[in-house]
Symmetry: C2
Subunit: 480 residues, 2 copies
């Protein structure tokens, strides 16, 4: 029998909180008949969001083209969707059934380049687009390619999406955390970046890149153009590649805020040397097609021979799944105003985005009114990263602990809190320690994806739970 | 700008011949208007194989369930497929749109376990099934988990499917090649396994597992029960985990030959300790659904805590794509005799398998008649690994070379040969050096997937090309 002692230590050490022990406990409770509200993961369609009709119609016709042969059946689909399915099969006759080129189906890569050019008003090169099984695989490809030695590391935000910390551990790279500024809506500070890089350098860590998530996960923050320009300048001066995780680019709710891509800002700055890897996905935005595992990686300021290595890496797993490639196509080339499916597309898209905006508000405002909980209405993405306070435990002095000890202590406390929350209320959130937090602080991440009524219910149950939990802790303290 | 000097050396060194420079050249020629016959890759639907109707009908209904709401449209689908799509959505209401559990959709894992139990007459545990994005990802998961230090390695066959060599290089593990016995239909010899392991041990390599591909890729060999029992005993004695790559289990053509799974033979031997990782895929067999990237990994003789690490590894990329999971479901739970879709399923399945059998024969017999080429009719899988002879080059003495030098020389020669082949005939095959071959020998791998007429044409063009190529070499020799 194999034992864990025979497994890779990197694997054993990798932690992915979004699917960790709290979720396992929630699944056990659910199997025993409890109703669980899964606020742990950005998985919209698991919480009732409906797929966009035109996307599913396209996939259905390409999966089973015989449907287009019968006039009556064909008439049940909008003309533009039928026309588009036919063009897909003309350009790519094997449909969903065959491996594609390693980097993906050429006309879809072209459509992605046109989407970027349209979005940002800048040139984009289809040859530098690689279609991937979701953005996770794209991020992992960049880490795989750029980590050369055990001393190499990536700068990652604190808090961050744990894909990055888990993958760095798995691939034997170092994490160089930089703190996001909670008091300034989680923007990045140049002084903090410099300090973090210097501290890493001092212990012999060699930074090869910086990860920026915009709009932020778990913070929900949308970065300003100035902030992005600062990051690009910082990366250029320090010879860092940039991973711009832009999967929430459609999820901007705060009036007046807009999404700025790193590619656009970099182009405006005239920076033609800093390597940029931008990720996008079909799993977020208004599509929420997580199950299809589609997305793309765009490479900028990367020469052909480096590009070839990325394509080779893709080739070892052959190619991204084709339905996911097609869904990516639907994302970057949605129906146009003259199309029969356009009105329904707009209606469905806007309903989803309006609903998300409203739910961000309900959750943010609701939680911010709970005594001992602190959060702003999320500007974007699908999450709120909620700070909460607990009374100090008797005999525990944070002042006497090192930063590392305070992290471990906070992880115990926020994990116990989230476990009690799911046990007592069925609400499943992720402890802040899974994302990283300032030493001595406590957080949890929750999505605002459940239906509005459930969100309201989540807020009121959180309120009651938090009071109970705090009063129990206080009672213990008093009895001691 | 990033340079290749800044990329991981492991990535730079990884080679995946199935999609290497010969294929790139073929794509260039095709883009310039040449007709290319892609015999380089087991990608049936790219070469005209049609998808199985029931599978595509099921996918299409789950992608777009609205089709089942209209009586007339619904009537265009067999009752059992509609019924099954409804059951899928009842068991798994988010359909294809949401992330699933990390290990895959529970009822599909259960169906896989029942498939194994039915196939082999042995117990199988649904908890020990992980649904994956094709078998490649399953193999890579096992390598990721089991490689602990740079001295660790896996025994892999020579010739092998280059996924294994490429992934070992990428993950920093060592290859321990063992030669398959070409003169005995590519079976495994215990003495060769022992020699290979001893030689590895002598240079400080620590073998942690052995990869066996059955039916073989690129050899087409189907292993006997005795041969499998020998391998299991060898692995047990040496504390090796077994990766049983069984993706071609439906592709057995030679009359009297049957596929024996490692799980079944291991059960018969009463071996309850040797860790076994079995892979299966929707890409091969008679489905040939390469584009959907579906498959599974079955773990045996693996305790719960080790299993949990594999599930965690899956969780870092969230889950396998859901259409691929559904196609895997269709593979392991095909229509039953009482179902409306059964007759068509059997007709389509048998037509594909009969066609493959016939094409294996045409190719094998045809090539074996070409002077200077040597191959048997493949017993299974989708490939022939053809040995060919070229006249020696003047001034080159193989006898003076080390094994390694002979490998390098053979790689130059077989690559030049395959490149000339695609330039002159449009036939794209893969040099034997991409799979590994005995020092001093030359091979190429070709699929027998093109339509029969094209296969006949491939054989006759190969014949003419080989004569030309040899006579050119001889002319050079004479002129020297």
């Amino acid at each position: 029998m194999l034992s864990t002692a025979q497994l890779s230590e990197k694997l054993l050490r990798a932690e992915y909180a979004v699917r960790g022990p709290i979720v396992e406990r929630a699944q056990e409770l659910e199997a025993a008949g409890r109703k669980i509200v899964y606020c742990n993961i950005g998985n919209p369609q698991a919480l009732g969001q409906r797929p966009l009709t035109y996307l599913r119609q396209l996939l259905c016709l390409v999966e089973y083209p015989e449907l287009m042969e019968n006039g009556a059946t064909r008439a049940r689909f909008p003309k533009d969707v039928v026309e588009r399915a036919r063009r897909v099969l003309l350009e790519h006759p094997s449909g969903t059934g065959a491996y594609t080129q390693s980097a993906g189906i050429p006309f879809i890569r072209q459509a992605v380049a046109e989407f970027i050019a349209r979005r940002d008003g800048i040139p984009a090169d289809a040859r530098r687009i690689i279609l991937t099984d979701g953005a996770s695989k794209a991020a992992q490809a960049v880490l795989t390619a750029l980590l050369r030695s055990p001393e190499d590391g990536f700068m990652i935000p604190i808090p961050q999406y744990p894909l990055y910390s888990a993958s760095l551990t798995l691939y034997g790279g170092r994490r160089i955390g930089y703190d996001l500024d909670e008091r300034h809506a989680w923007q990045l500070g140049e002084a903090i970046l410099s300090e973090s890089l210097e501290a890493a350098c001092a212990i012999g860590t060699h930074a090869v890149g910086i990860v920026v998530i915009n709009p932020g996960n778990p913070t929900g923050a949308v970065l300003s153009e100035d902030n992005i320009a600062m990051i690009i300048g910082f990366a250029r001066r320090h010879g860092l590649a940039i991973i711009a995780d832009e999967v929430y680019q459609e999820n901007v709710y705060e009036p007046g805020r807009v999404f700025h891509s790193f590619a656009k800002v970099m182009h405006a700055l005239g920076d033609t040397t800093t390597p940029l890897f931008s990720l996008h996905s079909i799993s977020k935005g208004f599509l929420g097609e997580c199950g299809h595992r589609g997305g793309y990686l765009e490479l900028r300021n990367v020469p052909d021979d480096v590009l070839a290595q990325f394509v080779k890496l893709q080739s070892i797993s052959l190619c991204a799944n084709v339905p996911g490639q097609l869904a990516t196509y639907a994302m970057v080339a949605p129906p146009r105003p003259a199309d029969e499916s356009y009105a329904q597309f707009v209606r469905e898209r806007d309903a989803i985005l309006d609903d998300l905006r409203e739910k961000a508000r309900i959750l943010g405002e609701g939680i911010s009114r709970i005594p001992g909980m602190f959060v702003e209405v999320p500007q974007g993405a699908m999450y709120a990263f909620v700070r909460f306070e607990l009374p100090p435990e008797p005999g525990v002095s944070l002042g006497m602990m090192s930063d590392e000890e305070r992290d471990v202590y906070a992880a115990e406390r926020d994990t116990a809190y989230c476990l009690a929350l799911v046990e007592e209320t069925g609400i499943c959130v992720v402890p802040g320690s899974g994302f990283g937090q300032l030493p001595g602080t406590l957080h949890f991440r929750t999505t605002f994806l459940p239906p509005r009524d459930e969100i309201r219910d989540v807020v009121s149950r959180l309120d009651a739970f938090h009071r109970r939990y705090v009063s129990r802790l206080t009672a213990v303290e008093v009895s001691v």
